[in-house]
């Protein structure tokens, strides 16, 4: 089972990883895994388990282009992020790193700390109370990038960018 972590709206990348905790600023870059939400929600990094689900409000990931924000989430094994709207640079970075992002508003349906099962291939969340939540399927070109494991493996496999077969 995966734990649900609920976040509010307009979560910016400074809240995900403050610029002061960038790999550029660290003696040991591997320490980045200790810093997702280090100031915004200090119980997240010590408590998150691989596969856990972030469920957030509108405009998740707004602000900076720093890829180390989604990278920090990947390092701790976040299984997917669900929000009604993602800021575009964050969405692209998460896609590039192979973190599934689903566009839906579940902040009033799921509870913080709730246990759920995430069935990625089906785009389905099954809650500990047996509720089935169908996530909207992302466009095909985005699914292809996830399936490849991120944009770099996609590019190396196909020799072109998503959306166009050249």
């Amino acid at each position: 089972m995966a734990r649900v972590w609920i976040f509010g709206q307009d979560i910016n990348t400074d809240q995900i990883v403050p610029g002061r905790y960038a790999p550029y600023m660290l003696k040991n870059e591997a320490d980045l895994r200790n810093y997702p939400f280090v100031e915004h929600r200090p119980d997240f990094a010590p408590g998150v388990q691989p596969g856990d689900l972030i469920v957030a409000g509108n405009n998740f990931g707004c602000g900076s282009s720093r890829e180390y924000a989604p990278l920090a989430l990947r390092l701790v094994g976040v299984g997917a992020i669900v929000a009604p709207l993602f800021a575009r640079i964050f969405f692209r970075n998460a896609l590039n790193l192979g973190i599934p992002c689903f566009t839906a508003d579940l902040t009033s349906i799921l509870r913080d700390g709730q246990e759920v099962e995430l069935r990625l291939e089906e785009g389905l969340i099954v809650t500990d109370e047996g509720q089935h939540i169908q996530l909207p399927p992302p466009p095909a070109f985005l699914r292809d990038v996830w399936a490849a494991g991120g944009i770099v493996p996609f590019y190396r496999q196909y020799g072109h960018f998503p959306g166009e077969a050249r």
Partner: protein, 430 residues
Amino acid sequence: MQTLSEQILSRAAGRTVMAGEVVTVDVDLVMMHDSLSPSIIRVLHEELGAERVWDPERVAVVIDHVAPAASVQTAEKQAEVRRWVRSQGIRYLFDVGRGISHPVLVEEGLARPGMVIVGSDSHSTAYGCVAAFGTGMGTTDIALAAATGQTWFRVPETVLVRAEGRFRPGVSAKDLALYAARRLRADGATYAAVEWHGVEFLTIMERMTLATLSIEVGAKAGLVPPVFAESGAILPPARAEVRRPALQPDFLQVQAGARYSQVLTVDLDRLEPQISAPHTVDNVADLSELGRVAIDVVYLGTCTNGHYEDMAAAARILRGRRLAPGMRMLVVPASAQALQRATADGTLMTLLEAGATIGTPGCGACIGRHMGVLAPGEVCLFTGNRNFRGRMGSPQANIYLASPEVAAATALTGYLTHPQEVEARLPLEV
């Protein structure tokens, strides 16, 4: 009929494209800065397996995010970046003190109308000040663009902000941009581009204020039409060696009948100074609505409002006056050129005589890393672009965003102040 973004991306894709299409395009310029270059270099070589960048004349590297280095590890990483630049034969390295990437690439004539420019910095929307399609991307996208000379986009819809009239005294481009954030909200132009019309009377760097703040409403790009004839908007000459350099502005123009997803009309004659209160950029009110807000430190700088024009606007208010007791005012010029110009015409001396201090041109404390980081409980009046909690240092600090005019007036009184009030309340020292 096409928007500016559709015209530029059509040219870059080699075919006519419209909003909603997913396209692969050629990029004209790739910008990377010191903060992310080490990771970009690693992805380029280790993950993509590329030995060289696609074109060493179309990759620009700028040391601006921690400049000069503030620690052994940042110094070490900057040294690594310089070695890499040499080994790749990259032509454009703008090192410590040259300034922030965005004004520098415009001043150097590298950013030109009609170009597609991708940068490892979200404020790369800045290049819209010269009607380039500039956009920010992360490490992996920039590494891919540097390796291949291409990237992919969903062609954005466009939100039109149409300004009418002229600013009243004490009101400037920052107030227009913050007002747009107030109306459009932080997500109002997500996945879209913003076009700023009716602002042809602004200088290039004043246009950059609008272009940089476009990301704060979520925009992919923020473009000002390429009209350079009117007052002060002098396009720096293109570097002779820049390939596909200056498009004639008539190649790219506002087309009647272009489709806009939303139109926001702003009456500049009625616009008051705008303040973005903690902790989101769209938390904006008229200054007059806010009451008395005490400020500990005034910070004038960044790619949004650290330009020559901004220092000069502050100097006009500070001239012959002194900072309020206990006030600190930090001025971090956006570029060496801006600093030189402010030095040559006495602007800098005016700032210093008023009690301000000057930092090395660059990003300064905008990212909370050095040169004026905030303590818990401190309140900063910032001419930059983000007031997120913890952005400039302690998460217990409060950041208010405002124009350079409001910044200067506030530095004189110690609390948020309308520039027009200064004349009445603080007579000149004789």
